[in-house]
């Protein structure tokens, strides 16, 4: 019930917001609904799911289950959406009700996407979430928004339709009773290798667009550069980079033989994406473009963790995905706050803000360091485990991905210098009380995932074990390289 409520609450809010006229009512509704949704999300762990027939005869169910990796991601995403909704209600001026409605619709879609345990339902949420994301970019984007929107739509549609083919084919070809995860899991071993490879390739296209992986990442840069300067839409877009989750929760466990065939290539691609993104990020001047490339680099690391096909890497990849929701999301919110002060995203036009805005500088430093993987903060455990998994599969890929971690230090420290140190042209306001409220959940999340990694990691591991077991069965003879449970716990 909690799961269903978590999807319906933001959806109903979105509809209500469409009809809200006065700014006060708008902010009140948005704040109350965001808080309510977040509280609902905190009730997720251990709650019962939802299970009822949806399209009888076709084998599709309305099946939601919070007690797996998706439940954790839904919780973390809600933690990030809470300040984002608040920030958007403060910063978006024209058509704020429609923008917020789109934001809440996206929240709803993301929750469904993470909680769905039926493949058709998962696909529906996957696609539906695209629409509000497009609406925000199209309606509130910058001067080049038309090109950016079309590019985003085309990449997403091409990938999604390829997945649709695999979704439509996987049940009848495997003879599964329904599209439920458990039914498919039991049935897909009947598929021969070639069919698995094709089906896996279909999923991969969709997930690689959304991950994103080089060379189909171009939409991402324009997407972030053109979105509304508040950064709220960028945060929602960051949460929507769910390709890694799709791989982890659906494609890898269901199609282990296909994964074994294609993983080496994808591992190499992921490692290259990580290094490429980080190096390009170091050369960017536009703040949002920089963050976009940094995000691309993180996603490369997620891919590296996934396609190492090792227990530690798989859970590490999900951990990194959760952590970067908070850190990258937080960085986009901070970029919006900077833009509110100077009206520019050109990193070179800033400088020395630490003198007049020490609290803002300290917060930025914390989130930025978390983002580049400093130990003790959110991204580190995930990055470490993802790289560990990659080294089990190929040390060359591991070394390539390590470049990303080093380059991250370069662009991270460099960015902080450019923004906050050196001579200050004109003083700016320090963090306003409302901005403190907005950033508080981000900081809390950064510390939470940095200091207490064990509980969420255990949830990811439980799911990863299923995948590893599938891989063990698929790879004859059984192979020790996929790892065993308990190895990860240090």
């Amino acid at each position: 019930m909690i799961s269903a409520l978590l999807i319906l609450l933001p959806l109903v809010t979105a509809v209500v917001l469409l009809f809200a006229r006065s700014p006060v009512a708008l902010r009140g509704i948005a704040l109350a609904a965001a808080l309510a949704t977040f509280v609902t999300a905190t009730l997720l762990p251990g709650s019962a799911g939802l299970f009822r027939p949806w399209i009888p005869g076709f084998g599709a169910y309305l099946a939601l289950d919070p007690n797996h990796a998706g439940g954790i991601l839904a919780l973390v995403a809600s933690l990030v959406m809470l300040p984002t909704a608040l920030w958007a209600s403060l910063r978006v001026e024209s058509g704020a009700n429609r923008f917020l409605a789109a934001l809440f619709a996206m929240w709803s879609g993301l929750m469904g996407l993470f909680l769905a345990r039926d493949l058709v339902l998962f696909y529906v949420f996957w696609e539906v979430t695209l629409l509000p994301s497009l609406v925000m970019l199209a309606g509130w984007g910058g001067a080049q928004r038309r090109q950016a929107t079309l590019k985003y739509l085309l990449y997403a549609a091409a990938g999604s339709f390829a997945m649709l083919l695999s979704v439509a084919a996987i049940r009848p070809l495997s003879g599964a009773e329904s599209y439920l995860f458990v039914d498919l899991l039991a049935a897909t071993e009947r598929l021969d290798v070639l069919t698995q490879v094709w089906l896996f390739a279909g999923f991969t296209l969709a997930f690689a667009v959304k991950l994103p992986l080089f060379p189909i990442h171009h939409w991402l840069i324009d997407f972030h550069e053109q979105n509304h300067p508040s950064g709220a839409a960028d945060v929602a877009g960051t949460l929507y980079k769910v390709g890694g989750f799709g791989m982890f929760a659906w494609a890898l466990p269901l199609l282990p033989e296909g994964a074994l065939q294609l993983a080496p290539w994808l591992l190499a691609l992921g490692a290259f994406t990580a290094a490429y993104g980080a190096i390009i990020a170091a050369r960017q001047h536009h703040l949002k473009r920089l963050l976009a490339y940094a995000s691309l680099s993180h996603m490369g690391l997620v891919a590296v963790g996934l396609f190492g096909l090792h227990l530690a890497g798989l859970s590490g990849a999900m951990y990194l995905l959760a952590a970067q929701m908070i850190t990258t999301g937080g960085m986009f919110l901070i970029s919006g706050m900077l833009h509110a002060r100077r009206g520019s995203f050109d990193a070179d036009s800033y400088g020395g803000l630490a003198a007049s805005a020490p609290a803002l500088a300290a917060t930025t430093l914390l989130v930025l360091f978390a983002s580049i993987g400093v130990p003790g903060l959110a991204n580190f455990p995930g990055e470490f485990l993802a790289l560990l998994g990659a080294f089990q599969a190929s040390s060359a890929a591991g070394v390539l991905a390590l470049i990303a971690v080093i380059a991250a230090g370069v662009y991270g420290v460099n960015l902080y210098q450019r923004l906050y140190q050196g001579p200050e042209p004109t003083p700016v306001a320090d963090l306003l009380p409302l901005e403190v409220v907005v950033l508080a959940p981000i900081i809390a999340g950064t510390l939470w995932l940095g200091l207490a990694p064990a509980p969420p990691l255990r949830a990811f591991e439980a799911d990863a074990t299923v995948t590893v077991n599938q891989l063990q069965q698929a790879g004859a003879p059984p192979d020790a390289r996929f790892g065993t449970l308990g190895e990860v716990e240090r």
Partner: protein
């Protein structure tokens, strides 16, 4: 199959008879009454009455008690009654759109409504036919009123050209179809599907080549009506030239009726030919036609500057997706097609209904530029168009998405994986041309078109509400309709003896 008792079963004939009766009634009333709104109301009453009977028949088929008349020559099983409902829905939408726009478009002659009802009667007969002669009868009843309707705007050369072109090519298609009937009769010695199936699958059946030729001509004849490439050439011109409310009717009702008949023939005659020596010939032909339709329809739509012509080509493309269901008749293809046609009727009629509101009073001006800024000047109209186009593009949570999943799944199960890949690839192309209109509505500045401050014609608004609500509802709760199709009993479906 248990053959229902009795030769003439009135309940089986009720939907068609009721439609025919109301067609004649409106024709008579039109002589005395000048109130067209009243005529539209009478037409809708007739449609609703027929729908009640069709729904009753559909429910009967749920309990395995599907009825048939004339010794299995007229069927009222799940397939027939479901497609009857789809045809009635399409006709109702066309009545509403016609009623809303008839004065402005100068298609205000009183025979408009009776002709729609007559044509729908033919469609109902087609999808219910269990016999080639009955089918031919339905085909002609369906087609003749549409020839007239296409040429309805008598002062418009484009409309006249559309009518004439449709008539000439339609006559040609009928000739091919009759030739197919003759050859099939020569091969099997019967006109009704039940006996033909028995003849074709009997041991020692040897007239395979004649039977295959017959099947090929039947396929070509119906291929014309559903606009499968290469028999599609009339479609873009006729759809563009005909008055837009008539185009809406043609693109949904004629397609539903012709596909209903084609699916029935595929499930019976074609299927019973398959175990034979040249059994792969008809499916292979169909594969080529469907593949070509997907390519030509989608690429054609991509190249069109006008929205009406784009929708005409997109109608051809959707014939390709429905063709996938025809290939999958042995694997839930009938149910998949039934769902797809319902979704297609709602979203396509909806798109044409919006088009009538944007075009000029002389039914011209369908350039994409006319949609520029529509989201600002007429937000509800733009939203309705967006829902219809997204659904046509196969994006969830709309009905078109579920339809697409069903037909693609059918194609994969039937062993046509590559065709499914092609269909998916072409869907990406489709996103481009549908998105072009949406982009114009939401991104471009208003072009200052004369229609910007026009309000939506009331009946068209009603049609749009039906189309949009239906599209969303079938997308969110597809089980409502699909379960009826999937559980319903179908008569005469050929099952090869193993």
């Amino acid at each position: 199959v248990t053959v229902p008792e009795g030769f003439i079963v009135w309940s089986v004939l009720a939907p068609a008879l009721l439609l025919l009766g109301f067609a004649l009634l409106t024709l008579l009333l039109a002589v005395f009454l000048s109130d067209r709104g009243f005529l539209a109301g009478v037409s809708l009453t007739g449609i609703a009455g027929a729908a009640v009977f069709a729904l009753h028949l559909l429910m009967q088929s749920q309990h395995g008690a599907a009825e048939a008349g004339f010794g299995l020559r007229y069927l009222a099983d799940a397939h027939a009654s479901a497609l009857t409902l789809v045809i009635l829905l399409g006709t109702a939408l066309a009545v509403l759109v016609g009623q809303g726009t008839r004065e402005r478009l100068r298609i205000d002659q009183p025979e408009y409504f009776p002709l729609l009802l007559l044509s729908a009667t033919g469609g109902v007969v087609m999808v219910s036919a269990g016999d080639l002669i009955t089918l031919l009868l339905g085909l002609e009843i369906l087609s003749l009123p549409v020839y007239v309707l296409a040429a309805w705007r008598s002062d418009d050369r484009q409309s006249q050209e559309a009518g004439l072109k449709y008539f000439l090519l339609g006559a040609f298609a009928s000739a091919l179809f009759i030739y197919g009937i003759a050859l099939t009769f020569g091969a099997g010695g019967h006109f009704d599907y039940a006996n033909l199936m028995a003849a074709f699958s009997a041991p020692g059946f040897e007239a395979n080549v004649v039977a295959l030729l017959g099947a090929a001509f039947l396929l070509a004849g119906l291929g014309f009506k559903v606009a499968l490439v290469p028999f599609h050439q009339w479609a873009p011109d006729v759809y563009t030239g005909a008055p837009t409310p008539v185009t809406a009717f043609m693109s949904v009702v004629v397609k539903a009726a012709a596909f209903g008949a084609l699916l029935r023939i595929a499930a019976t005659l074609f299927a019973s030919l398959e175990p034979g020596l040249f059994g792969g010939v008809v499916p292979s032909m169909l594969v080529v036609l469907v593949g070509a339709t997907l390519i030509v329809g989608n690429l054609g739509a991509l190249l069109q500057p006008g929205v009406k012509r784009m929708l005409a080509y997109s109608a051809v493309a959707h014939a390709g997706y429905l063709g996938l269901a025809v290939l999958a008749v042995g694997h839930q293809g009938l149910a998949a097609a039934g769902f797809y046609l319902a979704a297609y009727t709602l979203m396509n009629a909806g798109a044409f209904a919006v088009l009538t509101q944007v075009m000029d009073d002389d039914d011209r001006g369908d350039a994409v530029e006319r949609f520029a800024g529509l989201a600002r000047s007429r937000p509800y109209l733009a939203a309705a168009m967006t829902v219809c186009l997204l659904s046509l593009a196969g994006i969830p949570p709309f009905a078109g998405f579920i339809g697409k999943v069903l037909v693609i799944q059918g194609a994969v199960v039937a062993g046509h994986g590559w065709l499914a890949v092609l269909a998916i690839g072409m869907s990406v192309v489709a996103v481009v041309y549908y998105a072009r209109v949406v982009v114009a509505m939401y991104f471009r500045e208003p072009s200052g078109a004369a229609t910007a401050d026009r309000s939506i014609d009331r009946p068209v608004g009603a049609a749009l509400v039906i189309a949009v609500v239906g599209t969303v509802l079938l997308g969110l709760a597809p089980g409502l309709w699909y379960t009826l199709l999937e559980r319903g009993q179908n008569l005469l479906v050929f099952v090869a003896a193993r």
